[in-house]
Symmetry: C2
Subunit: 341 residues, 2 copies
């Protein structure tokens, strides 16, 4: 039986969305239990024999500074949810709250795995080859060193080998066009480190990839620093939203286009389902001594349930142990690098 | 009369595409002249009273290292085209060749404007508000300092004020989510510099923006370092291509979906036209003492003609002089920054 601790107060919509998603999740997972974390009042209406409320008197706001969330709100639903993982009451925690606060609290409460300096945020994006590309880091770390990028590659490989059942997933290092000046010094050094990791069997390093390779699906994993990853992710969100808007506008321009929309409705719905970003909700915080998943703050019921699903799959497949095993295996490499620095 | 020097040999398709685009461009611009640069043989078939072949015996390959293009191929079509601008025979040069080589040769032949350390590549991307967002740098510079980002902002403002007739276009500094650690040290410093530039009337600084703001159209200009800009651009290309592919697949799935595609054809064509990246082809190399435009290497006739159009508009609207005037106006600021460093 897997137990997930849910920060019911996080995200733009709070319990209205999180509780609805929890109910649906419990129906779809007869083997799962939930710990619903938050103030008693808003959660009191929820009754289920596999769910239990864990009281937390405070809530981390979406705009709360990290320091305040970490130092002042010690009884926040976010923190108490993570403490359930620390204490062993839950195998994973899920929150749609403030990313910076979640990362800081998770790091403070759970600590990082030996060999990992900084946790990273990893998510999966759909790709043209019909699968998904795992990208990390997505914003937990700016100003990464080559050694950090190597750590991300090791953790990303573990994640994909567990969640997608790929024994030896390929890793690409995000760089810029070959025809332009080839990347900065950090990337050049990271490329060397990844190559030696590949030689020692710790990674399946494909080589450098470019931005378009993320959605092309050239590699299973794309590694980059958090600044670049965050920009790539947000830019994609903006573009997808613009394209969706244009399509809608063109189909609702006049009576004729509206008729053709009705005619094309089944196709449009199939298309919409296929590019539905909600299906890709749920980013893993990797490198911690416990499983934490981050949902998009604006997640609706379907999206938040997807984040719960990911946390459940990760716990069920022993993601934590398997990430740690990979890191232990790569320890000589990671340590050698740290010494060489 | 405006004269444009065209590197007819650049790009994936060479003269087959460039010459066809040149012919169409001349038909659409009765006031324009073209200098067709390349080896005599492939260009000899082109006859037009407003076009003249300028001989160049060498061609820069798409994979040529920058050093080779710059030092060994002194009679390349790319270089000779740029030399036409230097010598005053043409008011702008256009090439679809290797970006790194183009930037290096343009910088070597034309030199940068006083006050600008590094040229930048700027392009326009469509946005949801129906306009276009100008983004720079797109890959000419990795490892930028805050001062470089300020220079890009000044140059981008000049470009937009000329090409889009916006007297005081807004500038956004590309950063990552507020909820995460707020950008790196360079971005923090650049933000301060841009704020003081706004105070002295050299810029209309909006503040920080995120990746999704590019396609939302939050600001007229988005400034970032070349690594981040290149990744954002390429990621967008990959996503747009994936979405287009999905839409096509869904409409060609079976006989019923194919019928609905026919029914929806006018809408789909209108949509396709709207998101057609070829309409946005033609990036400006800014900060040089001469106008150079870069076309996408894979440009077809329509796309390459669009790059010619941009170069023509820039030359006709005295982009060069106006960018220089902006830089002169901002000179005390740019110099103050350089000294303060």
């Amino acid at each position: 039986m897997i137990t997930i601790a849910v920060d019911c107060m996080g995200g733009d919509h709070g319990p209205r969305v999180t509780l609805a998603a929890c109910r649906s999740f419990l129906e779809n997972h007869p083997e799962a239990r939930l710990l619903l974390v938050g103030p008693a009042e808003p959660l009191s209406g929820f009754a289920h024999d596999r769910a239990r409320v864990v009281a937390a008197s405070e809530v981390v706001g979406m705009d709360d500074p990290i320091e305040m969330a970490l130092r002042r709100k010690k009884d926040s639903s976010m923190r108490v949810a993570i403490e359930q993982v620390k204490g062993g009451e839950a195998q994973a925690a899920v929150s749609a709250g403030n990313t910076g606060a979640l990362m800081a609290i998770a790091r403070y409460v759970l600590k990082t795995v030996e060999g990992i300096d900084r946790p990273a945020i990893a998510t999966q994006l759909p790709n043209a080859s019909g699968g998904a590309t795992t990208v990390l880091d997505l914003g937990a770390n700016v100003d990464c060193t080559a050694e950090h990028l190597l750590q991300f590659a090791v953790m990303g490989s573990a994640l994909v080998s567990v969640l997608r059942d790929e024994a030896n997933p390929t890793v690409g290092l995000l760089n810029i066009g070959e025809e332009v000046i080839k990347g900065n010094e950090v990337i050049k050094k990271a490329s060397e480190l990844l190559r030696s990791a590949a030689n020692s069997g710790d990674l399946n390093f494909y080589g450098n990839v470019e931005g378009n390779d993320i959605f092309k699906g050239t590699t299973d994993i794309v590694v980059c620093d958090g600044f670049v990853g965050n920009v790539a992710l947000k830019t994609s969100e903006g573009l997808a939203s613009m394209i969706g808007g244009f399509l809608k506008e063109e189909f609702s321009r006049n009576i004729f286009t509206k008729i053709s929309a009705i005619c094309a409705l089944p196709v449009l719905l199939a298309f919409k389902r296929r590019v539905d970003h909600r299906r890709y909700n749920g980013a893993a915080l990797l490198g911690l001594r416990g499983l934490v998943f981050k949902s998009h703050g604006s997640a609706d019921e379907l999206a938040f349930e997807q984040a719960l699903n990911r946390a459940y799959d990760a716990a069920r497949n022993q993601l934590l142990e398997r990430v740690q095993a990979r890191i232990v295996h790569a320890a000589p490499l990671l340590a050698g690098v740290a010494v060489a620095e």
